[in-house]
């Protein structure tokens, strides 16, 4: 997908076209994945966490893209910001861990079932928001299905989704 097509999808997304937005986010995820894989060798950072944090930041900061500007420099600037953030958080965590568990470092790492950082952030949400975000993201339901299942209006589902995503995004702006 070229720059012009990405910009077209993003403009449609900003006008409220959710299918164009999904197309844009999938393409953006591919670009950021390649970007993050090249830059997370043995740092202990999962490139897919960078992809997800970048997509969340793209979402809550999408009004900072100029509709007449290129998309990829904007996208990569956000990805770089999130990557630096991840290294900083990781750096601090490692300092603590080495002191505390220096002797066990040589032991083989147990198989890790990758629990994405954002998956953990779901636990931060109020129960109502969590069930809405989980229904749509994990179970893949539509706004309408979620509203029917949870006995809420579609508007209430949209509001809970919007606020829940904002809370998760904010979680990654802090240390």
């Amino acid at each position: 997908m070229d720059e012009a097509e990405l910009a077209r999808l993003m403009r449609a997304a900003l006008a409220g076209d959710d299918r164009a937005y999904a197309g844009f986010l999938h393409a953006a995820a591919g670009l950021v994945r390649a970007f993050a894989r090249r830059r997370t060798g043995q740092g202990g950072i999962d490139p897919e966490d960078i992809v997800q944090e970048t997509l969340l930041a793209v979402h809550v900061k999408r009004h900072t893209w100029k509709a007449d500007a290129m998309v990829t420099p904007w996208l990569y600037a956000i990805a770089r910001h999130k990557l630096i953030d991840a290294y900083r958080r990781r750096g601090r965590r490692i300092d603590v861990e080495i002191d505390e568990i220096a002797e066990t470092l040589a032991a083989p790492e147990p198989d890790r079932v990758s629990e994405r950082e954002i998956g953990k952030a779901l636990d931060l949400l109020a129960p109502g928001q969590r069930s809405v975000v989980a229904a749509i993201s994990v179970e893949g339901r539509s706004i309408g299905e979620t509203a029917a299942n949870l006995g809420m209006s579609e508007t209430a589902v949209r509001v809970a989704l919007h606020r829940g995503l904002a809370v998760i995004a904010k979680r990654f702006g802090r240390d």
């Binding site: 959710d18 997509l55 930041a57 999408r62 893209w65 949209r158």
Partner: protein, 212 residues
């Protein structure tokens, strides 16, 4: 949560776009000018001899240098509020006002006998200058920091400092109409100190409030 699931959730939330960053910046600028103008009108006011002063080059020059600072700083702030940050040329443009002021100092030193230099530098309003400019700049600075928070600055400390420069430029432009010290020697000393206070405050505020 896998990435496809996240994309489903994000795209389901497509329908609530916030106002564009450029609108937020424009709103912050208009409100900043308004807020500073209100404080100036209510609490400070122009000097009594402003009509006569307006015919002297030193008085008029103050507005050129302070307005130039406000304009270049606001343009840099606008760029720094987005992830890509400011181009080199926008940051270099920030030196235009200081360079112009240095040239004015050279002209002043050439035009005025050396015995008068220190009296012109010290002036009679140094305390008013270093308190009233920060006072008028506080509200603009708060508005610019709020705009940065709404934006996505990847260098929040720098962006906050530039917000302080912009707020200082606006406040100094208004204060220049009040102050009876017009020598570039006075402006370079006391205006700079007052604007530096806002710049440091902006850098600290940016570091704390403009992270994301």
């Amino acid at each position: 949560m896998d990435t496809d699931g996240l994309i489903k959730a994000l795209s389901a939330d497509a329908g609530r776009p916030k106002p564009a960053m450029s609108q937020a910046l424009l709103a912050a600028l208009v409100l900043a000018l308004l807020a500073a103008a209100v404080v100036f009108t209510v609490a400070i006011g122009p000097r009594p001899d402003i009509a006569a002063a307006a015919e002297t080059i030193r008085f008029l020059f103050k507005f050129v240098v302070t307005a130039l600072l406000a304009a270049t700083a606001f343009l840099a702030l606008s760029a720094l509020s987005r992830p890509q940050g400011a181009s080199r040329s926008k940051l270099v443009a920030l030196t235009a006002a200081p360079v112009l002021l240095l040239a004015a100092i050279a002209a002043e030193l050439a035009a005025v006998p050396s015995g008068e230099w220190s009296a012109r530098l010290v002036g009679t309003n140094s305390f008013a200058c270093t308190t009233l400019i920060p006072l008028m700049g506080i509200a603009p600075l708060g508005l610019f920091i709020a705009a940065l928070r709404y934006g996505a600055p990847t260098r929040p400390t720098l962006a906050g400092a530039v917000a302080g420069l912009a707020a200082g430029g606006i406040a100094a432009t208004l204060y220049a109409a009040h102050c009876t010290d017009d020598s570039p020697l006075f402006v370079a000393t006391w205006y700079s100190l007052a604007i530096a206070i806002l710049t440091v405050a902006g850098a600290l505020a940016g570091r704390v409030f403009a992270r994301w």
